[in-house]
Symmetry: C2
Subunit: 147 residues, 2 copies
DNA sequence: CAACCACTTTACGTTAACGTCAACGTCGTC
DNA sequence: GACGACGTTGACGTTAACGTAAAGTGGTTG
């Protein structure tokens, strides 16, 4: 704050460098197609910790990334508790003791296994879908012909 | 059917051809590491429809396969309702009308998209895990050295 | 200034997917 | 014939992840 600019509080905030932008809860909600309620809930569960300007929450890049990762984790079937565990350990990493770090590596390995199984599941499921789709198309063909 | 065999009702059921075996609810539960309660619940939700011998349920290969597919679907984050929808349509396929079949194809396409996104999510998540793991290992290294 | 947003907290409601418990029937066996 | 293992129905409990409604705050806009 060495150069007191004419407080451009009303700036549209559109052309700022990515990491200096801030977001309201509503903006963030629209970006990720969730409700504000969801975002507040994630905070309550310890997944987010936005800055506060008075009452209102102010989200920075860091928060946006966290939300993104959280939602990705959810799509992969992780519970919020699991996601929080990883996030907490990640935050505590720099000054984490060896035991904690090993625990973190354990968790990561676990997630990895999980995803390997998911990959296999997806492959199998895709075959099933192929199969079902083929049969469905066959039946449709017959209908078209005999009509 | 044509050759009436001496009803081996008490047979241990171990060396029978796969598709003739039957299972109790407990067996099935152990096979898939779920509780009987879960299996009954799936039936109640229309995902299974085992034969009945008196009171007790008797599961055939078909039921086992369905359960397997159901659990796989669950691991991929599908709701029981979604899974049921596909199963029902699949069952109704032979005499399904064109509209239903098209609807089925729609659903399948939808699931496919879902899985594509999941694949992408998994790739991204794996990178994150790689990253976090690397940092964790670095910190551990330092601890080992400075100790 | 009134009206209107967007945001806040508090609190109770809801849904999916089971868990748990009670009370009972049916075998095989010791 | 008591016992234990397994099965049944029915009903209520539980947890996660939000939804929803009420009531208030703070800024700007006609």
């Amino acid at each position: 704050m060495s150069t007191p600019k004419p407080e451009a509080t009303l700036a549209v905030n559109g052309s700022l460098p990515r990491h200096r932008r801030t977001y309201s809860i509503g903006e963030l909600a629209r970006m990720f197609e969730v409700t504000p309620r969801t975002i507040r809930f994630y905070e309550q569960e310890g997944l987010l910790a936005p800055e506060r300007r008075g009452q209102t929450r102010i989200y920075h890049e860091k928060d946006r990334v966290r939300l993104k990762l959280t939602l990705r984790g959810k799509r992969l079937g992780f519970s919020l508790a699991e996601i929080r565990e990883v996030i907490e350990m990640y935050d505590a990493m720099p000054d984490g003791n060896a035991r904690q770090l090993r625990r973190l590596l354990e968790i990561l390995a676990d997630k990895r296994n999980n995803m390997e199984r998911q990959l296999e599941d997806i492959r199998l499921m895709q075959r099933e879908l192929d199969d079902v789709e083929m049969r469905a198309r066959e039946v449709l063909e017959r209908l078209a012909v005999t009509d």
